[in-house]
């Protein structure tokens, strides 16, 4: 074809490619390509998270990301923050120690449904109960991807998995309900299709002081989609689009997910309650007075810093707001 421009050649070890990537500053480009399958929703979540950080005004040196094990557990290895890839189910207690050791950090847990809701379920409810100042993003693809498509505590009833080859006969957790009932002070859910809303919500959760839980429904095309004959990643997007039911402030008792049924989305819960560390310091200051040696900073100091950050980020946020309606 005479005159046709040759297609630009990119390769993963191409320095130019790495530098051109708009997220290069926030990703460990030397580790690309990542391990995720075509059509997987995890990459979208990482992109939205990075966009939210960019807009947040947070010093990126003060952000730490902790993951457990599984496909979503690999997020920590790709983001260019202080990042920790821990053991299966233990991202939340690791993050708890990290946050309490260095309270100036914003600690974000990014992991999957099997990791956070099954093996790590106990830690999830207790961190929520304590209102530990953590942001938890649970990428829920209804399956154990890394081990080959087994049933999880969130797999919808009747859905097929490799360990429920004739369909799932168990009742799944509704994670927003679980988090809410356990004491989380910020609870939201989006799908991998709702990138803009997700980014907005991540931004709000970053500013939230206390336990923020965001569930992101994401496709596992290789295992869940294929085994259940649901098509590819685009078919998943169609399903999310057709069945999205945005209900901000919905009663979390009503947001359970059935197999290929409607998915309630939005920010369900946002309330103020002292964080674990606020409670420690406020309580000891009250009962011990001047003899108490404060751990970390006072609530007032932290509040002041948060306000300062909000001022800094106001302009950056306006750019994002222009791109679409607020969630």
């Amino acid at each position: 074809m005479k005159g046709a421009e040759p297609a630009p050649e990119y390769s993963t070890d191409d320095k130019a490619f790495r530098e051109q990537n708009p997220m290069a500053e926030f990703l460990r480009m030397e580790r690309m390509p990542h391990i995720w399958c075509p059509g997987c929703g995890i990459g979208t979540v990482v992109t939205c998270f990075v966009e939210a950080i960019k807009a947040s005004g947070y010093d990126r040196d003060k952000i730490a990301v902790v993951s457990g094990i599984g496909c979503s557990g690999r997020v920590a290895g790709y983001v260019k923050f202080d990042s920790f890839h821990t053991t299966h189910g233990r991202a939340i207690p690791f993050a708890t120690g990290l946050k309490l050791a260095n309270p100036e950090l914003k600690v974000v847990v990014i992991s999957g449904d099997g990791d956070l809701a099954s093996i790590g379920g106990n830690h999830l409810i207790h961190a929520a109960r304590r209102n530990m100042d953590l942001m938890v993003i649970c990428i829920n693809n209804f399956t154990y991807g890394m081990t080959g498509g087994q049933v999880t505590p969130t797999t919808p009833t009747t859905a097929n998995a490799s360990t429920t080859p004739h369909g799932n006969y168990e009742t799944p957790f509704s994670l927003p309900f679980l988090a809410d009932a356990s004491g989380a002070t910020f609870v939201a859910r989006w799908t991998a299709l709702h990138a803009h809303n997700m980014t907005q919500t991540f931004g709000k959760a970053l500013k939230h002081r206390g336990f923020a839980f965001i569930e992101v429904i994401a496709p596992c095309t290789t295992l869940y989609q294929r085994r259940n004959k649901l098509g590819d990643g685009l078919d998943a997007m169609d399903y999310y689009k057709e069945n999205a039911d945005i209900q901000h402030g919905a009663d979390t008792r009503s947001v359970g997910i059935s197999f290929q049924g409607d998915i309630a989305l939005g920010k369900f819960v946002e309330r103020q309650k002292p964080t674990f560390l606020d409670a420690v310091n406020d309580h000891y200051m009250k009962v011990l007075g001047d003899s108490y040696q404060l751990y970390g900073k006072t609530t007032a100091e932290l509040q002041k810093e948060a306000e300062e950050r909000a001022r800094l980020s106001a302009s950056k946020e306006a750019e994002i707001l222009e791109c679409g309606a607020d969630d």
């Binding site: 040196d61 053991t87 690791f94 990290l98 000891y284 003899s291």
Partner: protein, 372 residues
């Protein structure tokens, strides 16, 4: 002060200001003491939902810059095993005390034992090395906790204090020296240019300097086999480098790490090799044997892991018998038999736990060894 409280005081003296724990008999008093003392010293105690969470929060807190400790006993120790592996793999300095009680399973929760001596060495999957110290008194609970923190910082490894219910609940005088008289090894913080920082250096001799989250290094670490940058590197060659380093950084420094205490070994026909509470009981048996004219010495293991192989090997060439009393069905004695390699008789004075030895049992074994 009892041994459990002395553990907490030792930790505070060593500069530990973070303790995530979970109550379990007979170790709970340590957590209680730490919780009580924290508000006075700017420390933080958090009671987690289980032992898995406590040990994992401690690993997280180390990477947040703290010196950390937790304490547990048998069942809790079993629950912590996976994270000990993570701590070894991430080369995380930390101190864990196991106030041993009788197992298996729930066993005899309030009664003494030394049954976790092999578990501490091999309990987590894979190959690695840890350091384990055994105190025989509340004073040593205090002293060895400080030493454990120092060793943990030098070698970036979990260090275990393998005490037991008897020492844990034993009340004795504990001297806490002035802070300036206590030797504290601070973390080896990295000071070079940010872009050159590597969390790991698999040289098999020393541990790489550390940084903490929030200081702008934006580093990564993982429980996967990793390269010097902490990035996953899933090859047999890389695993060999990592595992060899984890083992060699301890083995090649074993002479510096190992501490033992000797009494009357020169010219002895029989030597009692023991540790912790069993070695204290053995002292009475040794006195009785000496009164009866038997030439008997004592080797007390203060450091059990890494093991004093050379010392046992040399001992075996020069004595008729080694007597090994321990509150288990025979654990450390296996290591002694390996090192003695048939050069002398090795007599195990084992016990299923629950009660300390009757000195008469140890005396009988000494006599048996001497009569050869």
């Amino acid at each position: 002060m009892d041994g459990d409280h002395a553990l907490a005081e030792g930790a505070l003296a060593a500069g530990c200001r973070f303790f995530a724990g979970y109550p379990i008999t007979p170790s709970t008093e340590t957590a209680e003491r730490f919780a009580e003392r924290c508000p006075e010293v700017g420390g933080l105690f958090i009671q987690m939902e289980d032992e898995i969470a406590s040990i994992t929060a401690n690993v997280g807190a180390v990477w947040g810059g703290q010196k950390v400790m937790t304490v547990t006993s048998g069942p809790g120790f079993s629950l912590m095993m996976e994270t000990f592996g993570l701590a070894c793999m991430m080369e995380t300095p930390m101190v864990v005390a196991d106030v041993q009680r009788t197992g298996p399973s729930t066993g005899l929760p309030t009664l003494t034992a030394q049954q976790d001596m092999m578990q501490v060495r091999w309990g987590s999957h894979g190959d690695y090395r840890i350091i384990a110290l055994v105190p025989d008194s509340p004073q040593e609970c205090f002293d060895l906790t400080i030493e454990a923190f120092n060793l943990a910082e030098i070698y970036r490894v979990p260090v275990f204090i393998m005490t037991d219910e008897t020492v844990g609940h034993m009340h004795e005088k504990v001297v806490i020296p002035p802070a300036e008289d206590i030797r504290i090894v601070e973390r080896n913080w990295y000071m070079g240019p940010k872009e050159d920082y590597r969390p790991y250096d698999f040289n098999g001799r020393t541990a790489a300097p550390m940084v903490k989250a929030g200081d702008g290094y934006r580093f990564h670490t993982t429980g996967l086999t990793h390269d010097e940058r902490g990035y996953p590197a899933l090859t047999p060659d890389m695993n060999k480098q990592v595992v060899t380093h984890l083992i060699e950084k301890i083995e090649s420094n074993a002479d510096k790490i190992i501490r033992t205490e000797e009494d009357g070994i020169q010219g002895a026909d029989v030597v009692v090799v023991s540790y912790g509470i069993s070695s204290r009981i053995a002292i009475r048996a040794i006195q009785q044997a000496r009164n009866a004219g038997i030439k008997v010495g004592m080797l007390r293991l203060i450091t059990v892991w890494p093991f004093c192989e050379t010392k046992i090997r040399n001992l075996a060439r020069n004595v008729k018998a080694i007597v090994v009393p321990e509150l288990n069905y025979g654990q450390v004695v296996l290591e002694i038999e390996r090192c003695a390699a048939g050069q002398c008789r090795v007599i195990s004075v084992n016990s299923c736990g629950g009660a300390v030895h009757d000195p008469e049992e140890i005396l009988a074994a000494i006599k048996e060894g001497a009569n050869q």
